[in-house]
């Protein structure tokens, strides 16, 4: 990546683009966008490969049966990675790195990323969706619960931001 990366898109126009994709999803699929469900399905497939009977008899993953990956949001997640790849390649924005503040240790950033990941994995199952499936999709449908989720998401983020700010210290 010798050439410098292209600048990001105007955020408002990017929003219109994203909103149009969401609208297309409503009109064609009859369902909005989602990401965490895809991950949860992958998790179920993983757990199935390790402990099949246990997973099939478990209350949450069990109802997805033996082929949890045969689900539209799994394909959407794969598509999201691919789309990200195409776009990042085109804009020369691929760089292998651990993103963190210069002054923060690698261990700190890795632990935060892992623990944060576990929390969002758990929380998105609890709330039946994440930023995509609840906040964005449900928000666009003006569903009360999804908007409550969106507000709480920012509340939680701002409350915790102070305590994890060190990872971005330069």
């Amino acid at each position: 990546m010798e050439n410098s990366p292209k600048p990001y898109m105007n955020p408002y126009l990017a929003g219109v683009f994203l909103g149009s994709v969401l609208l297309a999803s409503f009109l064609v699929l009859g369902a909005g966008l989602g990401a965490s469900s895809g991950l949860a399905r992958i998790a179920a497939a993983l757990e199935l490969s390790i402990a099949k009977t246990h997973t099939l008899s478990s209350e949450y993953f069990g109802k997805w049966g033996e082929t949890p990956l045969n689900y539209y949001l799994v394909f959407m997640f794969v598509g999201t990675v691919l789309g990200g790849l195409f776009s990042a390649l085109a804009a020369k924005r691929i760089s292998f790195q651990l993103e963190k503040g210069k002054a923060a240790s690698r261990l700190l950033r890795i632990s935060f990323a892992l623990i944060g990941g576990i929390i969002i994995g758990y929380a998105s199952r609890l709330a039946q969706g994440c930023t995509s499936g609840q906040a964005l999709t449900g928000g666009a449908l003006l569903l009360t619960g999804s908007l409550v989720f969106l507000i709480c998401l920012f509340a939680g983020g701002y409350l915790a931001a102070y305590f994890v700010r060190r990872q971005w210290n330069d």
Partner: protein
């Protein structure tokens, strides 16, 4: 009207998966282009350094929201064909707070982490692995977290309903807040980082103006909270070109194209016009007192559920005493994609005045032609309550119908021309021996998947076709003959209930009793001349899960779960979840049947009366019966309504199959 893959229930086909992949790719491109492949940029919002997340997200949200509402206004799509998530306050508040903490810690959310991964960010990979672990952890702790998972479940709840505003106003306010937020965060960026790319820029001004205008237009279309019922619906049939033309709109109102005149309705009903479904939306007692002949009574709140099978088929005419309620209901139905709903000009009072008032009592002279018509109408609408000629003749040889009939009576009457005997046993049983003249029909031919719910009774339009193919006419007396299971006959009785065909009976003891008494059988196929059974809709007894949910909340109905006890207790289950509807009483359907040595009989009315007296306080108590698929519950319904004379019995056909599969519904 677009049929989405979700509404067609084909989200699991390879086509749907391929489309999802493509949409995913576009989703990924959008996120990446917005710069969401960087955790540093994403978490910038929490430190007021980079507010891109808010700008992108709210713009996307508003774009899709306005787009979808416009699509609905244009009649492109109905909101029912989009998957809607339930509002569950507990889960969404705690889930949201936790999610926010995880978001600021990891710097990612699932969708952006996918893009981060594609951009080579190691922390995105770690976050994704964490999220997978978190999902597994959720599965493993589901048992403990389940109370929270369903805590505060409100079902599908729109912000407009929470705020008691119309959808248009809600969307408009939301857009205004969004625009204010854009300007606010640009200011914040300027303060914190010293520069703002868009604050006060030409771009942001134009952008804000476009959003504002789009939301304003939408609000005008959807009308104010005061429900200008007459204004909106005409957009349905008009094209985009005149969408914004107030004048064209008002003209339509002026021309009253959504009205049907009393005289026209009277003529159509008199001529047995099959296309008209007349719906009385007044309270039950007023309906019971007097209604226009042929009308069915549906509560305003149940309209959209009950009428779904008539969406854009034939015409639906709503009436009340006046016109306000029907106009509001029509407005609401229109928003749900119905474009065949009309209201009766001047309501019931107008109808009575114009069509039924005796000529002699009128202050103005009436032309001869009209006078004749008025007399015809009076004869038709004010004559017999049930009115169909021939019914009386059939009743001469019939028992009280609907009801049970015995084998002796049938053996004396089975050859009568107006008698139609339906044999509900299996094909080979029928082929080897049946009551002379009986027709073979499987109870399953009346059921199917409706709106994704399996094994529910088909819409009246389809039922009347099947009935026509069997040559049954509205005046025929129908005898239902079961094999071993009396509830096969009661399931088919629901077909006739739905069509308002009350002239039927169930052979008590079924074919096996007939056979064991050595009565005449043969193997010949009957001659059938197909009829054109009038499409009639008398179903005000089938309820849907929302009604049941409401009944639980209001505690105004007895819910009878007639499944076997072990299913009720959740010890056995063939469905998505085990257990029962909170507050439901278990009265297994098998309790109502007595086994003789070779056949099954309904218990005597005395026995049944005693049994149900201990469960149901009065004959007018509201009762909702259900089982797994509606089959067993049809038997309890038949007994309560037709044998014991309970007047307020409802049938939740979707039953446990649907209830257990709708995870947002409470169970015990």
């Amino acid at each position: 009207m677009i049929d989405t893959l979700y509404s067609l229930n084909i989200l699991d086909t390879s086509l749907a998966l391929l489309i999802s992949l493509v949409l995913g790719i576009l989703f990924g491109v959008a996120l990446e282009k917005a710069g969401f492949g960087s955790s540093r940029r994403l978490s910038g919002i929490f430190y007021f350094k980079d507010m891109a997340v808010l700008k992108v997200m709210f713009t996307a949200l508003i774009t899709a929201m306005l787009g979808l509402l416009y699509a609905q206004a244009l009649g492109l799509i109905s909101v029912e064909s989009v998957y809607l998530m339930p509002t569950i306050y507990g889960a969404q508040i705690i889930g949201g707070l936790l999610f926010g903490i995880g978001f600021v810690m990891s710097g990612w959310c699932p969708g952006t982490a996918a893009v981060g991964l594609a951009s080579g960010k190691w922390d995105a990979l770690i976050c994704i692995l964490g999220a997978i672990l978190g999902s597994i952890l959720f599965n493993e702790t589901f048992h403990f977290i389940q109370p929270l998972y369903t805590n505060g479940n409100q079902g599908i709840l729109f912000l407009s309903d929470s705020l008691h505003l119309s959808k248009g106003v809600t969307a408009f306010l939301f857009t205004i807040i969004g625009i204010a937020a854009f300007w606010g965060v640009e200011k914040i960026e300027q303060k914190v980082t010293g520069k703002s790319e868009y604050l006060g820029s030409q771009f942001l001004k134009i952008f804000s103006f476009v959003l504002f205008s789009a939301a304003l237009g939408l609000m005008l279309i959807y009308g104010q909270t005061t429900r200008k019922a007459l204004v909106y619906p005409f957009f349905k049939n008009t094209q985009t070109a005149c969408l914004f033309s107030e004048q064209a709109l008002l003209q339509k109102v002026e021309e009253a194209q959504d009205h049907i005149a009393a005289e026209e309705l009277a003529e159509r009903l008199l001529n047995n016009n099959q296309e008209v479904l007349l719906v009385d939306v007044r309270p039950e007692n007023e309906y019971a007192n007097f209604h226009i002949k042929g009308a069915v009574n549906i509560r305003l709140s149940d309209l959209s559920e009950q009428l779904i099978g008539y969406k854009n088929q034939g015409i639906i005419v709503l009436y009340s005493n006046g016109m306000t309620h029907p106009a509001q209901a029509r407005d609401s139905l229109n928003r749900q994609g119905f474009n065949n709903v009309y209201i009766l000009t001047d309501g019931l009072l107008g109808f009575v005045d114009l069509c039924l008032k005796p000529v002699a009592l009128r202050s103005e002279p009436v032309p001869d032609g009209l006078a004749q018509k008025i007399n015809l109408w009076r004869g038709y609408f004010l004559g017999q309550a049930k009115g169909q000629k021939g019914v009386e003749e059939v009743r001469n040889f019939a028992h009280k119908a609907p009801g049970l009939i015995d084998t002796q009576w049938l053996s004396e009457n089975y050859k009568k021309p107006d008698m139609k005997i339906l044999d509900l046993r299996s094909q080979n049983e029928y082929n080897t021996s049946h009551i002379p003249g009986s027709l073979a029909i499987s109870p399953e031919s009346f059921r199917g998947v409706v709106k994704g719910v399996p094994s529910v009774l088909l819409p009246a339009a389809i039922l009347s076709q099947t009935i026509s193919l069997m040559g049954i006419k509205p005046n025929d007396f129908v005898v239902l003959v079961y094999g071993e299971k009396p509830h096969d006959a009661t399931l088919v009785s629901m077909v006739f209930e739905r069509l308002g065909h009350e002239n039927y009976g169930i052979l008590n003891g079924g074919f096996l009793k007939w056979q064991s008494e050595g009565r005449l059988v043969d193997t010949e196929l009957p001659k059938v001349i197909d009829s054109s059974y009038r499409l009639n809709y008398a179903d005000n007894f089938t309820v849907y899960y929302k009604t049941v949910l409401q009944a639980i909340k209001d505690k105004d109905a007895i819910i009878l779960d007639v499944r076997p006890q072990d299913y009720y207790l959740g010890q056995k289950s063939d469905e998505a979840r085990a257990g029962h509807i909170p507050g439901a009483i278990n009265r297994p359907y098998t309790e109502d049947i007595r086994k003789a040595d070779k056949y099954s009989l309904f218990k005597t009315v005395d026995e049944l009366t005693t049994a149900y007296k201990s469960i149901i306080p009065t004959n007018a108590s509201k009762i909702i019966v259900h089982c797994r698929t509606g089959h067993q519950a049809s038997q309890t319904f038949f007994i309560l309504k037709n044998l014991l004379g309970y007047t307020n019995v409802y049938w939740y056909d979707g039953g446990w199959t649907e209830w257990s599969a709708r995870k947002e519904l409470p169970i015990k």
